[in-house]
Symmetry: C2
Subunit: 388 residues, 2 copies
């Protein structure tokens, strides 16, 4: 009686969300999530903003809005991305229900079944699953410490007619690494040569706690090949579900039509909070506090790994963001070990969940340092030392 | 450089939203929208609920939530739909970002390109566009005063392998009419005979102001063929974007996987407000107030049409909901006349926007009576009398 779309038939729910569900209710130290630290959430600001919006203009806050986004928010986002060096001559901005929705809207607008999409390996599973759910042919390209392996990338571009590249160049999920400016420019040159588009997914970009800023790929994009996915989830609140896209106007136009059938528009109260957040005089110090905290936690986690984990486990050294990636230079399956870790009250995300082929054993894992307390980082890494 | 998906290439933005945009900023009497009356929005209740949620449990309100929905809301929805006669033995409930998203999730879960979807004519354009955006073959079946024309329906079922029927049986958009219980049962029997599934879209069901309740198709569905789409948009607030689905468990499971890639989860604050709304001791009297108001406005609009519009214009007599449908038994193109009406400061939605073939001239139009004031209804229909 029930026959399913070939697009969704074999799609599994995110393994990460499964781990999070497994951890729910247990008193775990969890390095598995991707949440901002609870203490960074500007709760009072959000509460006051909503109270003001409901008191002064309940119609705006509670009735239908336009699909491309609340006008004030769109304007402030335009200012923001212009400051980041993006040109709005041939690009437009729209609001989305979280950064995740940008990926879905792009896929829906430009992909036909069988189109080739390249992504980094490892990569964000939420991106990967979007492309799978449109029956795209997804091919992985290995990631190096300074970004995509260019040789491997060009090999794929020669062998396939590639439609789209999905990348998280800044404070990568799950790697924590940042792509060099050189590589960003090289990839844009390849996009010109092989005629493909790029999704630049950048939810963590503002959370830099050390090192020099690297320009976004969108700000280096003179041809209109990059669709930029921004998000308020890591700097304001994930539960509000607000993100945005900066895209070439013809692409953006289709994305707005697609959004109309998907959810009509993004929650108005969330959009109003995001708009006021961008104009908030506490914005800069709020971001600075987040960066200071995450830098401190990242350094602590680094030290603990070096101290408590075996020598054959190496880790990345993020300059920002919320994730750190560990490689085990030994034949250890982190998928199997997870049950043991959870028994000892620690959760991490095994590396296979970030791969296209999830059946291979995977001697790597992702750690989140934004959410756990400093005590939990020390205690949790100690326990992981016992696990491995 | 930009080539688009065949799924979205020819999809136009909703003509209704275009009319609303045209009307924006002008001092119009608008019968074009589909919004609840501003004065019915429970603004204080919403503000207090959010303040409480942010004060007592900011982590719940602002961090990530699970994809299938905030647990308390899911439980209260389960209670609610059980009271409406739906069985939860083989069905589950999930929260969505508005009722619109239910249609999209179902289409994404079960449709392959070329699958045949039947819909009523006229029908809700937001539904129609979802199916078009999956490259489904959409075929219309005429609507009669008591629901779908059964003979025309069975003719299509014989000629096509139909996968899905999309219907709005209660207080239809745009017709305002309600399908009889007899026809509901007859359609379920046809679904068994010809093996297809049904989306029952029911955003207006609670807004009955006269006549007897008719059971939902989902409550009559013994076989698990109906996916029920519910919404808080017309009874609480459209801007919060909360809806829900009741669906057979295997279908629901796929819908949850689909939602994970589309927007991860629905805005938590909106879900908390919806959950508290269902438990609010003011709920019943709130719904009663909405019904009383819309009944009064619907009767007034009926009277005004009879009084001020030419005799060759007939209208439906809704027992609930927010829309009334007018047929012009004369060769008049309501699409062309709209510009004239807007010049005279009145907006309506011409009938062609609810059709599959939008190029044919259309001598019908939809009027909304929930949003305009009583004075505006009198004045606006008078002006329409001049227009026609």
């Amino acid at each position: 009686m029930y026959t399913f779309s070939t697009k969704i038939k074999d799609l599994e729910g995110s393994a990460i969300r499964a781990v999070l569900k497994m951890a729910q209710g247990k008193d775990l130290i969890t390095f598995a999530g991707g949440l901002p630290a609870l203490e960074t959430l500007p709760v009072d600001f959000i509460n006051k903003t909503i109270d003001k919006a409901l008191t002064e203009n309940p119609g705006l806050a509670l009735q239908y809005g336009v699909t491309d986004g609340y006008g004030v928010l769109v304007e402030r986002l335009q200012e923001k991305v212009k400051k980041m060096g993006m040109s709005l001559k041939d690009n437009g901005v729209m609001v989305t229900s979280g950064g995740q929705q940008v990926i879905d809207l792009v896929a829906r607008s430009i992909l036909n079944e069988g189109d080739v999409v390249l992504c980094e390996l490892p990569t964000f599973i939420g991106g990967l699953n979007v492309f799978k759910s449109y029956n795209a042919k997804v091919i992985g390209v290995p990631l190096e410490q300074d970004g995509i392996d260019l040789e491997a990338l060009e090999k794929q571009l020669k062998e396939n007619k590639v439609k789209l590249l999905y990348t998280i160049p800044t404070f990568h999920n799950p790697m924590g690494t940042t792509m060099s400016e050189l590589k960003r420019k090289a990839i844009l040159a390849l996009a010109h040569k092989y005629d493909f588009l790029i999704i630049e997914d950048n939810p963590y970009g503002e959370l830099r706690f050390q090192g020099e800023d690297v320009p976004t790929m969108k700000s280096l994009d003179a041809e209109g090949r990059v669709i930029y996915a921004g998000s308020f989830s890591k700097i304001l609140s994930p539960g509000l579900r607000v993100g945005f896209a900066v895209a070439p106007k013809p692409v953006l136009e289709k994305m707005v039509v697609a959004k109309q059938v998907i959810d009509v528009h993004t929650t108005m109260l969330s959009q109003i909070v995001a708009a006021e957040f961008l104009a908030w005089d506490g914005y800069d110090s709020h971001i600075k506090n987040c960066c200071d905290l995450y830098g401190k936690k990242a350094r602590l986690m680094s030290e603990c790994i070096d101290k408590f984990l075996p020598e054959y486990i190496t880790h990345t050294n993020p300059d920002g963001g919320i994730f750190m990636w560990c490689d085990i230079n030994k034949d250890v399956d982190t998928k199997e070990l997870l049950a043991k870790a959870v028994d000892l009250k620690v959760a991490y995300i095994p590396g296979y969940t970030f791969m296209i082929d999830t059946d291979k054993p995977c001697n790597s894992f992702r750690l989140n340092y934004s959410m756990p307390t400093e005590e939990d980082i020390i205690e949790g890494i100690k326990i992981l030392g016992e696990v491995f």
